[in-house]
Amino acid sequence: MAAVLAALAVSLVPVGATPAGAAAAVKCPVDALDKAKGKPVEIVMWHSMPRASEETLQKLTDQFNASQGDVQVKLLNTTSYNDTFTKYRAGLGSGDLPDVVQIQDTSLQGMIDSQSVVPIGACVKADKYDTSDIIPRALDYWTVADTLYGMPFNVSNPVLYYNKKAFQKAGLDPNKPPTTLDELRSASQKLVDTGTTKFGYSIKLDPWYLEHWLAKSGKAYVNNGNGREKRATAVTFDNKTGREIFAWLDGMVDDKLAINTGPPAGNIDNLLAIGAGNAAMTIDTSGNLGSILQVLGSGQFPDVEIGVAPMPGPVGKGGVLVGGAALYIPKASSPEKQAAAWKYIKYLLEPSSQAQWSVGTGYVPLRKSALDDPTLKAAWAATPEYKVAYDQLLNGVNNVATAGPVIGPYTEVRDVVVNALTQMLTQGQDPKAALTSAADKSNQEIESYNARVGG
């Protein structure tokens, strides 16, 4: 198994240096903790985990704090990935920074451009930390120019959530949920025709439909090796596959098989639709599994039994992308605090921690040996839903497309895509035109960002 994974890792497209700078020169002072004068060293971590995930993170942190006397970690919930990033950016100017910060996947190029972190790879090297047990695809996502910038912590990917009871009622096999776009469509058709639910499928207008479905088809999202060979300068999604994806979504809504429940940003209407019987399927992040079980089990929705399945999508030589967030260590912290941060991060990546984390949240356990953990084994045996994201991550080809795009103005590009989807689905714009306009606007954003960075 290890040999196969090693071979896959080697076959990844080699990445060149990004022009943004000499991040490789930054060192990680892993020994500073031993020499620290005032122990325990107190550090602060900024995170944006909600509900059940926050509880689990707090539990792990409490365990860490109790287990040793060198480091005490305080958690600060900065509400959302975006708020955290904003606060971080402001902190770069004012000095108000944490010692560990959880930043979402899409901000990778941004974090590189900020030149403000100690690359985790430096700590790995200095500490001779063995990363062979960590899922390689996760490490590869956060590696650009042979440098691992952030330590993957909560990895998730989109999965299909569906109401088993509705499936049964409509005469669909609750153990055989759809796997392709055609199957998704015909299942929706059956649900609507039998009058089981108003619509078959609820679309949370997430920009990552385009991202993941292109990856599943084996297509890159931006140029220059998906932004990993060199800084990306243009998007590449305005192609046949992109048009098929947009057209499929448009067709589903036009034919009243799916309902558009609006852009993300705290929106759980796609799940509420299932709860209210207005839909029976939706795609959402596996990281929300814990919260979803909480919400849909809150007593407001009696007719729902949630099933989880791999994300249906176009067929091709690809797979889902690595998604989620990673932990970064800001350079601004003192050496002791950087070392303390590294120690905390190592704890969070231990097999038992990852097992607990996965069981409590639905995030993918990032240590292969976590699968041997009895709690995890029992949890997965009892609720196999939690295993779906993990399998999905490991199955699938490793290529440029599935390595995932690295884009500076990722947020801006995502907003453009969401707006294009909105325009197509609610204002009657034709899919081809919507996609092209999305590509044009995205390219404008990328150009202007690159101008602001490159100088």
Binding site: L92, I259, A273, G455
Partner: protein, 297 residues
């Protein structure tokens, strides 16, 4: 006397400065400095992160922003929002004020009810309507017959109207209070004189009430417009500028530029544009007030 007076005048002057100083300092830091900084920001391209170099680009950025479709759409949306909310608010406030103005049994209760929305904050009103308009579980959605369909706030065709309705509702109390106060100021003998001349209720309204109320209405229109141009809270809670930027009013656009995209330069250009608009409205208000005061005399 001549020995004491100058030192007392000097002490008074010093005291004067001292009393004014704290305010001036705060103004300097929180009003004047940031106002001036906007111009500097507008002329420099902001890097995505502090620490990277700021590049002087002269008026290029200003030109880019002002000619961008995003800014123009935002301006258009904001003007639409003002047009939706201000006249409607005034008319409704006036209607309620006229109805409740008469001393009838129970009119006090009605007056309290009509002013009640002044006790709701923008955030409270927005959270209430956000929940009531939720496409899956919202009560208003159910009554509008749109249960399970695309949400009112998710549809670019209806989102701005919905946000406007929430705003109008929340402002109703204030509008009512303003118009009522204005009505109080209309002398009764004017009505009596009109009645003696044979004017009926409708004529009295158009020829006595409305003209006498016009300063109040004008004030409400200008101040209301200024406040509407500065709207933010309801957009942040209801739609976050979407869907497809259909509720992306100016202040929200500025907020997004700074806190979502880290682009202070672009935000500064928009902020200056907002300032100019509000300035024009304020000057209009002052000019009219001047003229009206002389007319009333």
């Amino acid at each position: 006397m001549t020995v004491r007076a100058p030192s007392r005048r000097a002490k008074d002057a010093l005291l004067g400065y001292a009393l004014v100083l704290p305010s001036l300092l705060l103004f300097g830091v929180f009003v004047i400095y940031p106002f001036v900084k906007n111009f500097w920001l507008a002329l420099h391209r902001t890097p995505p992160f502090p620490g990277l170099p700021q590049k002087y680009v002269g008026l290029d950025q200003v030109g880019d922003v002002l000619s961008s479709s995003e800014f123009q759409k935002s301006l258009r949306i904001t003007v639409l929002f003002v047009l939706y909310t201000v006249p409607t608010g005034i008319v409704l406030g006036l209607l309620l004020a006229v109805l409740a103005h008469r001393q009838m049994k129970g009119s006090g209760v009605y007056r309290t009810i009509f002013s009640s929305t002044v006790a709701t904050s923008v955030a409270a009103a927005s959270v209430i309507f956000f929940t009531l308009l939720n496409p899956q579980v919202g009560l208003l959605t159910y009554w509008l017959g749109r249960s399970g369909e695309i949400g009112v706030l998710d549809d670019p065709k209806t989102a701005l109207v919905a946000v406007s309705v929430v705003t109008i509702w929340q402002n109703l109390g204030l509008s009512f209070i303003l118009m009522s106060a204005g009505l109080q100021g209309v002398p009764d003998d004017l009505y009596e004189a009109a009645a003696v001349d044979g004017a009926n209720a409708r004529q009295r309204f158009w020829h006595v009430t409305l003209p006498m109320l016009s300063p109040t209405i004008f004030f409400a229109a200008v101040v209301g417009s200024i406040m509407a141009f500065q709207a933010f809270g309801q957009i942040d809670i209801l739609t976050q500028g979407g869907p497809n930027d259909s509720t992306n009013v100016l202040v929200y656009s500025i907020y997004r530029d700074v806190f979502r995209f880290g682009n202070d330069g672009v935000a500064a250009v928009k902020a200056i544009a907002l300032f100019v608009i509000v300035l024009i409205l304020t000057v209009v208000q002052l000019r009219f007030a001047e003229r009206r005061v002389t007319y009333a005399r």
